[in-house]
């Protein structure tokens, strides 16, 4: 009679997407900015995997652990830390090294609307309105929508976002670290626009751009908007 082998765990490698957050110094000021962001968008980090990039910040071990505490107080879940000095890392939070090729092998959280191409397309086209509550996440490139984006809908793209319609929801272009991404729309009534993490909420958008046909890009650290007519 053969003896059954013991079941063994199987380990595989995987590549995933995470939001990389780089704290600024002084840390208190940066945490205050995070608090402002959370005050406006309490669910901003909800469900997102966050990696902290502390390369070059020369944090002491205490400062680093303090930072982790502050983030955990704000319910920001840290997947791992990049660029940390080995003396700081005590095993509480895994140390990560960025994949050299940095090519996404696995998709980020499933988009609400599936693309028809089997391989991840570099840009996707959505030819119907994006409804309130729907979330499009495309970590591979541009997103183009033929139709409007409703209030309460969200589009997150690695590249630029083009809306041939009215933008009433939230758009986050260049969301995976692309400061050259742009946002285009036929009629601006957006709740929030962001490029590579720099964002403007509706209140901060100059009234002259409301209901206008615009493009937005990142000029330095601030979003700039211009009329397209």
């Amino acid at each position: 009679m053969t003896t059954r082998g013991t079941t063994s765990f199987k380990f595989r490698g995987g590549t995933f997407h995470a939001l990389v957050v780089r704290p600024g110094t002084p840390l208190e000021a940066w945490l205050a900015d995070i608090d402002k962001l959370l005050a406006r968008s309490p669910g901003f980090f909800a469900g997102k995997s966050v990696v902290i990039d502390v390369a070059g910040l020369s944090l002491t071990r205490d400062a680093f652990l303090g930072l982790l505490d502050e983030l955990s107080k704000r319910d920001i879940r840290i997947l791992g830390v990049e660029g940390a000095d080995p003396s700081c890392v005590d095993g509480r939070v895994p140390s990560l090294t960025r994949d050299k090729a940095d090519k996404p092998k696995r998709r980020a959280p499933a988009p609400a609307i599936e693309t028809s191409a089997p391989a991840p397309a570099s840009s996707i086209l959505i030819d119907k309105p994006v409804r309130s509550g729907q979330q499009i996440v495309h970590p591979h490139g541009d997103v183009t929508v033929i139709g409007s984006v409703a209030s309460g809908a969200e589009i997150v793209a690695a590249g630029s976002i083009h809306i041939y319609g009215t933008l009433r929801g939230r758009v986050l272009a260049g969301a995976y670290g692309n400061a050259r991404a742009r946002i285009f729309c036929r009629k601006l009534e957006a709740e929030l626009m962001a490029i590579d993490g720099h964002y403007l909420v509706a209140d901060d958008i100059e009234p002259k751009f409301r209901k206008a046909s615009i493009q937005a890009w990142l000029g330095g650290d601030a979003l700039e908007i211009a009329n397209m007519d």
Binding site: R131, S148, A153
Partner: protein, 271 residues
């Protein structure tokens, strides 16, 4: 074989139950065999609007759970022979609904009726989700008001993604029914106009029901507004909608309680 219609909205209080009762009665008065089903388990109202609240013995939950047969639960309307009601339970809640149970109820009703109208509860959870799950087409009810319109947009998104039709890759026909419309307030800019709502929701317009005291009058006496006062403005509007549902082309006007010139609207055609 019946056509299954879901009357849904997202937002509460916009006129789903009123519309279900009014349209059910209007279609049945025209000779169609109609059953209206209340999916608002625990907060049922359709029985009140149909005037059947003192005759409910078995309800949708009893049938879903196999405790009663459909024939025992269906309540025939006293005024129109071909109109039936399947009431919701008041003592249970939406967790008592099951997907298989709802699918079976609708499947068993199909051969005996021309129209199955599902009155959805408000919200986006189980009750609303099951009410729309097996529908052939949807009437999205909205008031010309920002919260209602945004909630309706959310519901439209769910109609396009969670229904059986959507899962089979088919497009569900969705129509907008704009209720509680007040032409005077719209023209003063106090209320969203028809074009504003259509611009946001991008679905064809089925009809416009004017705000009217007749709706409350009808509900107070437990009669659908189309039966209680057929000459009233909302009744005429609902009757027009029923005709459009049957495929007739009826020009869209917003009937007013006052006769007058204010009523023709852009000469637009409804869906």
């Amino acid at each position: 074989m019946a056509h299954v219609l879901v009357v849904t909205s997202g937002k509460g209080g916009v006129g789903k139950t009123t519309s279900t009762a009014a349209l059910g009665a209007a279609l049945a008065s025209a000779g169609e065999r109609v059953v209206v089903i209340d999916f608002d388990v625990g907060l049922r109202n359709l029985d009140l609007l149909m005037g059947a609240e003192r005759r409910v013995v078995y309800d949708l939950i009893h049938v879903v759970q196999g405790a009663a047969k459909l024939t025992q639960a269906l309540i025939r309307d006293k005024r129109i022979d071909s109109l039936f009601l399947l009431a919701a339970s008041q003592t249970r809640d939406k967790d008592a609904l099951t997907e298989e149970g709802v699918e079976r109820v609708i499947r068993e009703l199909r051969p005996f009726f021309d129209w199955i109208i599902c009155d959805s509860p408000a919200g986006i959870e189980r009750g609303a989700s099951l009410a729309m799950r097996y529908a052939d087409s949807a009437i999205v009810v909205a008031n010309p008001e920002v919260s209602s319109v945004r909630d309706s947009d959310r519901i439209i998104g769910l109609l396009d993604s969670t229904t059986t039709k959507a899962r089979h890759g088919e497009q569900m026909e969705k129509y907008l029914l704009l209720t509680r419309y007040d032409a005077a307030r719209a023209s003063r800019g106090e209320m969203l106009g028809v074009e504003d709502v259509l611009d946001i929701l991008c679905i064809p317009l089925l009809g416009i029901i004017p705000e009217s005291k007749e709706v409350l009058n009808a509900s107070n006496v437990g009669t659908p507004v189309t039966l209680n006062n057929p000459a009233s403005a909302p009744a005429r509007a609902y009757n027009d909608v029923a005709r459009r549902l049957k495929g007739e082309e009826v020009p869209l006007v917003v009937p007013s309680d006052k006769s007058g010139l204010l009523n023709k609207l852009f000469g637009r055609r409804a869906a």
